[in-house]
Amino acid sequence: MSKLTALEITNLHAGYGETEILKGINISVEPSQTVAIIGPNGAGKSTVIKSVLGLLNVISGSISMNGVDIVGIAPDKAVRQGISYVPQTHNVFPNLSVTENLEMGAWTRKYGIAERIDEMFDLFPDLKTKRNKIAGSLSGGQRQMVAMAKALMVEAKIMLLDEPTAGLSPKFQAQIFKTVKKINENGIPILLVEQNAKQALEIADKGYVLVDGANKVEGTGQDLINDRNVARMFLGSKD
């Protein structure tokens, strides 16, 4: 039997209330893949992730995870199903310590919480020394790591990352991309929305370019980096 697609989005129309932002999007994430969504501001990149998570109104189309339809699922149920989500902003509990943030990420987990926290400190060694610090007191990059570690406390079947490097220094950006790659190598498929298109495509197995709520171009990460139109529009190339 062939492996089921980790996440399959077919002909998705979605938006806020009656306003349609996504106009027939198709995206698929195979098991063990990292998939990047890039595109200009307002293209609907984050809307794709929010639709998967049940945070906004899906008008039509289908979303399935490992073959199971998840359209309209409540966000807390989505997490129980194994969707690990890192929002772009406000992604940590600022008045809880780092460890408490991780514990909150493990809300749906019945056992093995302490072990999982140790695994997260291995993955994000910087956080280990800050474990008792209040998350709100950390730097932007460290907060992003707390947010990712918190999201990984569930038994993730897929990880959704909404612009994880936005507003971070280049040093932290590189570190975040490296960690994303590492998480993926541990067997978790990743759907990544990014403004830093080039770096995202470099670690991605597959990339989608969205423009105005519709698929514009798709291909492997390397294909898109080499595509002159994509390069000119999104990768800062002068050609």
Binding site: L53, L55, H90, P94, E100, M104
Partner: protein, 316 residues
């Protein structure tokens, strides 16, 4: 020094201020948690305090009349706490929950309505007149009196005040343990920080809401019973009269900060009592009739100068 200044100041102003502060603090905990977790100002909170006092009184009377066992108010408050929590959860389920996704003003109005419903219910069941909660003259605690007299600083803390202060300290310690050591308590702090993030982290927000009503209900009954112990009587507007200072305490401490609410409650209780101390000359600094104005003044100043409160609470 103690004879001319300390004795009067400590026994007649400081201790009553602390007692009032404890009552405000306990009430403000529920208000601040509801405000930060459910995002609305619950006007019915004072009435739950009040009905908690009536439930406790009823348990004391029933125990005495039916079994001949006189109960201390703190023991009689146990069934009252359970009833008050059940009341909070039922009210939430049928009157507040339907408005959860509506603009906050609707649920505030619903709570205002609930305030009137609860008060009218109490008036219908127990009557509109005052009831004696604990009869007799409040005697000073002998132990504290003798201990302090031996160092020439006699403190006359009535037994009822001793119980109120000790009870509040125990509840604060328990609350601190709950909020920092238990999963549900940490979840409450997480939802208070960000309900949206809590949802996408898989936290069952409805469980947290119920826990909030349990903690709020417990503290409200404790505040109501302590108030009734202090006043030695019950009347149907006693909760409502506490509402403004309790909101002032919650705002002073910072919305969503239970420990801020405790500090806020103590500051407001002390400020009210100490504002009538004869700081200048022989007369009260301000007339006792204006005492409640002190809480209001602190609240307004805080909202203008530092709306996030002393402990950086949530801004709405």
């Amino acid at each position: 020094m103690w004879e001319t200044f300390g004795f009067e100041f400590v026994n007649f102003y400081l201790i009553p201020g602390l007692v009032l502060g404890c009552i405000y603090a306990l009430g403000a905990i529920g208000i601040t948690l509801t405000f930060s977790i459910l995002r609305f100002a619950n006007f019915a909170h004072g009435e739950v305090m009040m009905i908690g006092g009536y439930f406790t009184w009823t348990a004391m009377v029933l125990s005495n009349d039916l079994f001949g066992i006189p109960l201390h108010p703190i023991i009689a408050a146990i069934p009252a706490v359970m009833l008050a929590i059940a009341l909070f959860i039922l009210v939430d389920r049928y009157f507040y929950k339907p408005f959860r996704s509506a603009p906050a003003i609707r649920v505030v109005m619903a709570s205002f309505g609930m305030m009137l419903v609860i008060r009218s219910f109490v008036q219908a069941v127990w009557g509109p007149n005052q009831l004696t909660f604990v009869p007799g003259i409040a005697k000073p605690n002998e132990l504290v009196k003798n201990l302090t007299a031996s160092v020439d600083m006699m403190i006359l803390v009535p037994n009822k005040h001793f119980w109120i202060i000790a009870g509040t300290i125990v509840i604060m310690l328990a609350l601190s343990w709950l909020l920092t050591k238990t999963k549900i308590g940490k979840g409450m702090r997480a939802v208070s920080d960000s309900p949206e993030l809590a949802k996408v982290s898989g936290i069952d927000v409805e469980v947290i809401v119920k826990a909030t009503w349990c903690v709020g209900g417990f503290c409200a009954v404790a505040a109501g019973v302590f108030l009734a112990m202090d006043l030695q009587m019950l009347e149907t507007t006693m909760g409502f009269r506490m509402l403004l200072p309790m909101f002032a305490a919650a705002i002073l401490g910072g919305i969503g900060r239970p420990f801020g609410a405790v500090v806020g409650g103590l500051v407001i209780g002390l400020a009210e009592e100490l504002s009538v101390y004869p700081w200048l000359g022989d007369g009260s600094l301000i007339s006792p009739g204006y005492k409640t104005g002190v809480a209001f003044t602190i609240m307004v100043i805080m909202l203008v100068v530092r709306p996030s409160g002393l402990f950086k609470g949530r801004l709405f």
